[in-house]
Each structure stands twice: as C-alpha cells, then as structure tokens.
Symmetry: C2
Subunit: 388 residues, 2 copies
C-alpha cells in the first residue's frame, strides 16, 4: 500500500545524515564530555560543534544555547525559571489562548504558585492582537510567553512587535518556536526575544533533544539541580547522540530552508486549493501568515476521528490537531479559541507537509479525501447535500 | 598507543546491540508514539517493549517506569516531586553526605523552599549507619533519599534496612541506583523502596535517557507540565532512540549480570591487591561491600590531576572521582566525609572497570601506575621514601 506521511507537525523522519552522525557518535565517540581524558575531550569537541550549528540556525551565540530533553523542557525551563527568579519584581505573566500545553499548563502551575496569568484571546485566524497585548501589560508583568507559530493551525504570531513593546518595559520575552524553526527564518535578534524553545525532532533530528536559547544576562532559576553541565543551567550528562544529531539537523535546516520553504508553500497552497474545492470545507488559520508546512481544515458533518481512521486505512498519516493531545475526544481548544463552534471543530484535520512531500502525493491525498468525505457524509444523519 | 578505558563509572561504551536497535529506530521507526496512525502505533510498540525490559531489570511493573532524560532528572523528579507533594504532611527530608550532586543540590534547593534537611554522616568506609538514620527520623519526615552505591568509592549502602525502618513510619524512600543497577542485583521490592533512579549510559546504553521507578500510589508533583505522556507524570515527546537503546541495554544487563559481576569482582580485587602492594597507597571505600566495578585509592604525596594527566598520556582513561565534578580543584567531598584529610584526598584516583576490561589490561595499568607514581613522588618535595 502507498504510504503518505502528512504529519510532519507531530514529528519528522530522521534525516539520513543525522542518523549517520548519531551512529558514529554511538559507536566511536562514547566519552562523557565532562571527563578530562582523551575520550572525554573527544566527546567535548562534538558537543561544541553541535552547539555552534544549533546557535547558527537561530542567529545566537553558542554560549546562549542550553540543551534540553526537548521543546517541553525548554518551555518549562523558560517559564518556571524566569517567573520564579523574577517573583520579587512582579507576579504577572502574559500568554495566549492557543499555546501548546507545555506553555499553558506550565502557566497554570505558576498560578498555583501565586502568579497571575493573562491569557490573550486570538482572532478568527488564531492571531494575537497587539492592542490586546498592550492592554494586558501591567506594572507587575515579568514575563511574556507567546508561541512563534501555532502547532495546530500554523498561524504566525506578531512576536517582533510583542517583543519590542515588552522589552521597552523591561519585560522578559519567551517564544515557543518549535513549529517555526526550520520552516521560516528565525533569528533571535531580529525577533528581539530573550528566550526561544527549539525541538530537534520537528526538524528531521532525533526525539528527546531540544534547546532553550537564553539571551546573555537573562536571570532564571534552574528546573533541576546537579552537576555543572550547560553553564550550571541544566545539569546531567549530556545527551550526546541526541545533541550530535540535533547539530547536523540544524546545519541541514539552515542550508535548505529558503528552497524548502518556497517548495512547501506551493505544495501547501495546492493542497489548500484542492480541499476548498470540495464541498463544506473550511480552512482553519491564516490564509498566508502560516508556516509553509501546515494545512488545517474542518469538514462539516464529519467526525475528525472517523476521517483519520479512514485515511490511516489508506496509508495516509495525518492528525486532528496536536499529537500531544491525540486520543482526547474534546474538540481542539485552539479551534474553539478561534471562535469555531465545537460541532465543526470536531471535524478538523491537520495535514503537515515535509521534505518527503511531493505534488503527486498531494494530488493522491486530495483524491482519497474527496472519496472518503463523500462516503462519510453519506452515512451522516446531519448532512443534507442541498445545504452543504 | 594502547587505549585502556577504566572510567566506566563516568560512562560506558554503547553496546553494539544497543546501537543497532537505535539505528533501526532512527532509520525505520520515526513515528511519534502519541500519534494514532500506523507510524505512531509502530513507535508505541517499541516504547512498550523497552518499558517492559527496563522494568524487568529492577523487578518493577512496566507502568511504574517513568522515562526521564537521565539519572539527574530522575533524582530531581523524585526529590522535588515527593517533597513538594507532601509538604502539608511534613517538611523534613533525610539524605547522606556522600550523595551525588543531583541529590545533594536538590535537597539544598528544597531547603530554600522551607524544608529541613538532615545530612547523615558516613563512616570511614563511606557507609551510613542505621542507628544514625533512626535518630534522624522525625514526626515531620516525609522523604528519605540515600543512594544505593556511591559513584566515587563504590560503597553499598544498607538501603533495605533503611527502607524497612522508614516504611514502618509511612515515610517515602528514594534511592539513586545509577551506580548499582547492572552491577549488583537490584530489585525494588527486595529493597523496599518507593522510588529508584536509573541511568542508561552507565549500563552500556545511550546518554540522555534514564528512568524513575515510581511505586504505584506514590504521591508526587511533576517537575514539568505539558502533554499527557508517561501517565501524566513526565510530559514531552518520548526520546524514542534513547528509550529503545535503554530497553536493549537493560535486557543485556539482566542477562549478563551474574557472570559479569563475578568476573569483574575478581579483576577489581586483582587491581586493588596490585595497588596496595605499591608504597603509600590507601584504598578508599569498603573492602568488600562495594560494587564490582569500583576501585578508588589515594596516592600519598601525589596530586590526583597530575596522576590523571600522566595516565591519559599513556592512553589510560581514569578519573579523580565523579565526572560531574571534573575540573574542580577541590578535594572530593565524598572522601572528606569519610574522614580522609584534604591533602590526601587530593591524591585520589578512581578506576572503574567494565565489560571490556581484561586481566591483561589490569596488569598493564598496574605497571604504568607503579612507574608514574614513582616518578611523580621523586618530583614531590613532600615525599621522603624512608617514611612512605
């Protein structure tokens, strides 16, 4: 059976060069980079090289990169670390309604510690409005955490404007860039943020590794305690195979980004046009201010899970939203925040493109979706083709 | 040049079968185990299999295994998670003076949060005394965290007795078993502990992955917030290559433990006997109640760093103590806690054996150490051979 993977927002295949570098690390360079002997110095070189490559991808200095176990740890470290360190200055944190759970749930945890959280609304495209942000700013605001691109609908947030306004008031700015790095140009200085989370497995690197960019001079408490690794900010023996793989993935992402972004944007728009030509479909998210890999649509009168299952049986891997919320029967909180009614939000489908995606695959998937949705609607008691 | 790696306490070479399983995971099974489609279900099978193997190594149920980014995160999760969850019941935690920094520094962090910490002393062999422990117990004691085997001197602690006494009073017991798992039989029910930390890279698995055993019903707060992975206890997309490698490493460790423990104990004792036959050497740690891989000795009138450097130049990888404290000029706090004077503690050398270690290597290393120590002492103004 033909296999089409359109769930690159959940995770990406590991690039063969990434895998090769990790294999070499596993087989020939097993030293602990903290060890002073030759095996340790050998490992330390690989650690330094990876850090340089990851820093270069986002325009940072290598010493501003703290390797973490992934995007979730990076988000937690940024939010809990800064808020707890700044508590004496103020207890107010601003976030948005469409953040990943790694941000939203961490903000809820801060609330239990006595912080006040403002959750900014979004418009019908999933975007935060800068005037809402301005109104939310308080004397006690110490941290803003708003994602760069949304994981479900791909909408890009006005981080540069948010950061400029926040920095003018001395507020620390974090952005979860897990879904934007490698898809659109991301430069920490251009964006003006203090902290930025990256995950390797979204850019054809391995799972279990990511990083937090921390601008020099940013005050934060660590999440964990132990050895002096990562400039005392993140203890524990470094995940060397993961870090080496992340470094190679970052170098490839930096090199391929311009051409891939262009290629995928065209494929994305071909997929969107094809879907919108079907009956009773609506596109979720912004028509243009969205990452090149993301398509999210609602199919009226159809349950998302039924659609996913039917696609899976035809060898097409997709999702209804975030993989991290998969299995939940609730409609997406991101779509609800965008004002989409629950009964429509339940029929959402996320198709996320990647390096292996071709025009032929897009056309094949469009054909299968047309066929499946027709069948599913025919079985739906709610559907009346004269009204669709 | 002949290369002899005697720093298995810092990290171990990755077993070829472990590497092969990780390579297959990286190349052919990249799915996100949270995804509902075929790629996700494929990954989920590997996740479940690894969990079963890791659980079996320590006599646990698979659902009691929480994968973490390593031993440090496991220690932090156990200590911070339980103490913070139990705060209303009491604010007293007991640990020992010879714990790894991942435990000691985490207890210090708890102190800043209002907890009282009792740091138990150790005897000249590095062992905690059960009567000291009994005296330290209070009405408000909620957690005991004492390591199973020491990372620097290999001394095994009386965890079973400690756990029995603590459990009788309803106190939660954690042990950092990073240095004992795979070296001596470790069974969570035999030990009677509620929480136990394991690191994969100490048992010929990859760096960046470990686990915390959490006995069913143990109350604890998470360290991080986000997706619902690991039964809501540890969010973030799972480190699949690491977990798969850990699973294979655990299966091999379980299979090879009895024979390896026997073989390494003999080699260890051959190395100890050879060192003690040299002038002005003392063995650190317990003569018999120590893990099979560990030899730690002090060479009077010699700086540990000079000895390490000379060994490194001869291709022999060793350490002065913990790799996590390497680079520090302070004498080992573990040796100081055992009553060894600072000027002697500075001359400490840790040699840790492993699967690749042979009798021939041991004899070679003994010859090199004899030669080097004679030369270094000849250069030392402190040394008088008639007194040595």
């Amino acid at each position: 059976m033909k296999q089409v993977y359109l769930d690159h927002g959940a995770t990406t295949p590991v690039n063969p060069d990434v895998a090769a570098a990790m294999i070499a690390c596993l087989q020939d360079h097993f030293g602990n980079p903290s060890s002073l002997h030759g095996f340790g110095r050998d490992a330390k070189q690989f650690l330094d090289e990876a850090r340089t490559n990851v820093a270069a991808l986002i325009g940072a200095h290598p010493e501003e990169i703290i390797f973490t176990s992934g995007g979730t740890e990076a988000d937690n470290m940024a939010i809990l670390g800064v808020a707890r360190a700044m508590r004496k200055k103020g207890n107010h944190v601003i976030t948005s309604a469409v953040e990943h759970h790694a941000v939203l749930d961490t903000c809820l945890a801060l609330q239990k510690e006595g912080f006040e959280i403002t959750v900014l609304p979004v418009d019908a495209y999933g975007q935060v409005h800068i005037d809402d942000f301005e109104r939310a700013l308080r004397e006690e605001t110490v941290l803003v955490t708003i994602m760069h691109a949304n994981n479900e609908v791909g909408t890009i947030q006005p981080i540069k404007e948010i950061a400029r306004m926040a920095k003018a008031k001395g507020i620390i700015v974090h952005t979860d860039a897990v879904q934007s790095v490698g898809k659109i140009p991301v430069d920490v200085n251009e964006l003006g943020v203090d902290l930025l989370s990256v995950s390797a497995h979204k850019i054809y690197g391995p799972k279990g590794i990511g990083c937090l960019y921390v601008r020099k001079g940013t005050k934060m408490l660590p999440l964990m305690y132990g050895g002096g690794q990562e400039r005392q900010r993140r203890p524990g023996t470094e995940n060397m195979p993961g870090i080496v793989g992340f470094g190679v993935a970052a170098a490839i992402a930096a090199r391929e980004l311009p051409a891939e972004m262009d290629r995928l944007t065209k494929l994305r728009d071909r997929l969107i046009a094809g879907l919108l030509a079907l009956p009773a479909v609506r596109l979720n998210g912004h028509p243009t201010e969205r990452v090149s890999i993301n398509v999210n649509a609602c199919f009226h009168y159809i349950e998302g899970e039924a659609l996913l299952l039917a696609l899976d049986m035809r060898g097409i891997a997709a999702s209804s939203g975030s993989a991290c919320s998969a299995g939940s029967m609730d409609p997406s909180y991101v779509l609800l925040a965008m004002g989409i009614p629950p009964e429509i939000a339940r029929g959402s489908l996320r198709l996320t493109l990647g390096r292996g995606t071709t025009a032929e695959q897009i056309d094949y998937v469009l054909g299968v979706i047309a066929e499946i949705t027709e069948k599913l609607r025919a079985m739906s008691p709610l559907y009346n083709p004269n009204k669709g």
